[in-house]
Symmetry: C2
Subunit: 356 residues, 2 copies
C-alpha cells in the first residue's frame, strides 16, 4: 500500500492534543474529551472540513468571548419525550452531545424523542450526533441552523443558512448508514478549495451580488452567497430546519444567528435539534437489521454505470476511511496539518507524531 | 382580470364528480369523499400532476386489481406514540389519511408521534397529509417510498424511487408553510412536459442507459432514469425515506415496490409514514406563530434579486392559488380537462361545468 506511518497521525495522539488545548482554554476535562472525540471522529471519516481543522477557530472564539468554554447547558423545559436545553453559549459539541444523550435516554421509554438546544454555537459535523444514536440501535437525526450564508429564490444576498441535516441508521457495528449534508448546492468548503486553486466552479453554486446564479467565486463569501441545493428544494429544507432547530427552540433565527468565523466575539445564538427513533420498541432489532441488509444488498448489486465499479451506501466511504484511520492513523492534507501545528506552537505543546 | 368563469371548474362540482366515480368502482361514500378531498385540494394548489389528473389512473388500477377499492387499513401494532397500519392494498389516500389522523390523535398526548403504513398504493401528493396536521396546530411530515425510477451514484438503471418528502408548519389559517418535493433533480411530470414538447432538458436531469448524466429524454421512462437532486444528497434523502417508510413499516423495499402506472394489476406494496409534532405541548402556540411571522417577515423583506419583485415562503404560491380557486374555480390546463372528460364519458356522468 506504500503506507508511510510517519506521515499519519494516531487517533489517540490527536485526541490528546485536542483535550490538552481545550482544557488550557478553560474547558473541563470531561467536556474537552467530548469535543475532542467529535472532532477526531469526523477526521477519521475523512471529513476534514469539520474535524480538528476547526480547532484554531474554536480557540479564537473562546478567547474572543463568543464561546464560553466553562458554560454548562441546562434543561429549561421538558416532557417525557422531549426537552429544550439552553446552551448558555457553551461549545456547540458540549450542548449537542448532552442533547443527543438525553434524546437517546428518553427514547428508551417513549420510542420517539426530540431534544432542542438554543443559545448554542457551531457544533461541528451534524453526522457525529446522528451516529451516536446508532450505538444504542436507534435512528438519529441531527439538525442545526447557522448564520445566513445562502440565497433563496428571488432574493439577493444571504437570507438563510445552508442549514445542515444528518441522519444515521443502525446497520453493522462498524458501519451505520449515515448522511451529513448542507442544504446548499455544495458545501462551502468545496468552494473554498476551488477558490484557493483559482478555479471557477463546475456549476452555478453561487448567487452573485444581484442574486443571479454564477460560477465565478470572486470575493465570496463577501458579495455573493451559496445557492440552495436543487433551487426551491434546498430552500424549503433549510426553512424546515430553521423551524425545528430555531423557531421551536427559542434560538436566534436567520440574521439573529451570528457567524462564529466572521464574529468570533459574538455568541452564535444557534439552535440545534435531535430526533431519535428507538427501533427495538417497534420491531425486533434483528428483523430491522435483516431488512437493512436486504436494502443494502440490492443497491450494492445493482448494475454499475460506465466507469464505476462500485456503488456505495450513504456513509459507507466514511466508515471505510474510519476503519483504516483507526488501524493506521489519519492521513491529513497539509492544510489541516499546518493549522494543527500552529495551535500546538501557540500553546507550546509538542505536536504529535505525523503532524510535522 | 379577464376572468372567464365558464372555463373554470368549481371545487364542489369537481369533488362531486370524483365521489361519484370512486363510489361507482366500489369505494364507500366516506372513503370516496376522503380521496376526492385530497385530489381536489391538490388541484387548488395548482399541483395538477398530483390532483384529479390521476383519477383515470386510479380507476384503471382499481379495475385491474392493483388497488382494492373496498379494503380498509388496519392497525397491526402500536404504542402510545406510534403505530403501523396494514393498508391491505386500499387506495393510498384512504390509508394515508387514516394514518395521519391517528398520528395527530396520538400527538395530542405524546407530543411526538409516528405512524407508518405498509401494503399501500400511490397516495397522491405527500403535502396533502402534512397540511392536515396544521389544521390541528401541529407540524406534519409525510414520506413515501415509490417503485424504483431513479439512478444512484455509480449505478446504471433505476435503483431507488424518487421518494417524496413533505412537511407543513402552522402559520396563518389560510397559509400553512409547506413543501412537497421528490428527491429527484426534477419531478417526473416536468420531464413528461418537456418530452411532450419535444424539447431537451435544461439540465442533466436523467441518467442514460449507461448510467451517465444526460439532457436527452429519448425513450424515458424506459431506458433511462431520473437523477437524484444534488447527486449524493438526493440519493441519501431517498434512502432515509426508504428506511422510515418501508424498512421500518414492513412495506416492499426498492424493486419489491411496484409501479401503479406500469403494473396497474399489481399491488404497489408501498410504504408511507407520518411524523407529527404537537407544538402546543412544547410552547404556547401563539408564541410559535409569532416566531413564524418574524421568520416569514425577514425573508419577505430581503433585498430582491435582479428581475424579481417578490420572495415566496415555501407553499405560499400554492396557498394563493388555492384561495383564488376557492373563490373562482380551478382553471385547468387542457390536458387535465381531457382526462376528466374521458372519465366522465366512461362512467356516463355529465361532466361538470368548465370541463367542456
Amino acid at each position: 500500500m506504500g503506507l508511510d506511518s510517519s506521515k499519519r497521525v494516531a487517533v489517540e495522539d490527536l485526541t490528546q492534543l485536542c483535550v490538552e488545548v481545550f482544557t488550557r482554554v478553560g474547558m473541563s476535562p470531561a467536556d474537552a474529551r467530548t469535543v475532542a472525540a467529535g472532532l477526531v471522529t469526523t477526521d477519521t471519516w475523512g471529513t476534514f472540513s469539520h474535524g480538528t481543522n476547526l480547532l484554531p477557530h474554536y480557540v479564537t472564539s473562546i478567547r474572543a468571548g463568543g464561546i464560553d468554554a466553562g458554560a454548562q447547558p441546562e434543561v429549561v423545559v421538558e416532557g417525557p419525550s422531549w426537552a429544550i436545553l439552553d446552551g448558555h453559549a457553551a461549545m456547540g459539541m458540549v450542548s449537542g452531545c448532552r442533547a443527543m444523550d438525553l434524546a437517546i435516554s428518553k427514547a428508551r421509554t417513549t420510542t420517539l424523542s426530540w431534544v432542542g438546544v438554543c443559545n448554542s454555537n457551531h457544533f461541528g459535523a451534524a453526522g457525529y450526533y446522528a451516529v451516536l444514536a446508532t450505538h444504542h440501535e436507534m435512528i438519529g437525526v441531527a439538525l442545526s441552523n447557522v448564520d445566513p450564508n445562502m440565497a433563496v429564490p428571488g432574493a439577493r444576498g444571504s437570507v438563510i443558512g445552508n442549514n445542515p441535516l444528518a441522519y444515521a441508521v443502525p446497520h453493522r457495528a462498524d458501519f451505520p448508514v449515515f448522511l451529513d449534508i448542507a442544504t446548499s448546492a455544495v458545501a462551502a468548503s468545496k468552494i473554498m478549495t476551488s477558490k484557493s486553486l483559482g478555479q471557477d466552479l463546475p456549476g452555478d453554486y453561487l448567487a452573485d451580488s444581484e442574486g443571479l446564479p454564477t460560477r465565478k467565486i470572486g470575493t465570496w463569501p463577501v458579495g455573493s452567497s451559496l445557492m440552495p441545493m436543487a433551487g426551491h428544494k434546498g430552500y424549503g429544507l433549510a426553512f424546515l430546519i430553521e423551524v425545528l432547530a430555531a423557531a421551536l427552540t427559542g434560538a436566534g433565527m436567520l440574521s439573529t444567528a451570528r457567524s462564529w468565523i466572521l464574529s468570533p466575539h459574538e455568541q452564535g445564538k444557534l439552535g440545534h435539534c435531535f430526533l431519535v427513533f428507538n427501533i427495538g420498541n417497534m420491531m425486533p432489532i434483528e428483523l430491522f437489521k435483516q431488512r437493512m441488509s436486504e436494502l443494502g444488498r440490492e443497491i450494492h448489486e445493482a448494475a454499475k454505470a460506465r466507469g464505476s465499479d462500485r456503488i456505495y451506501l450513504p456513509g459507507e466511504m466514511e466508515c471505510e476511511r474510519r476503519a483504516e484511520a483507526l488501524r493506521n492513523g489519519i492521513e491529513f492534507p497539509e492544510w489541516v496539518k499546518a493549522g494543527l501545528r500552529g495551535v500546538a506552537r501557540n500553546f507550546q505543546i509538542a505536536p504529535c507524531p505525523g503532524l510535522e
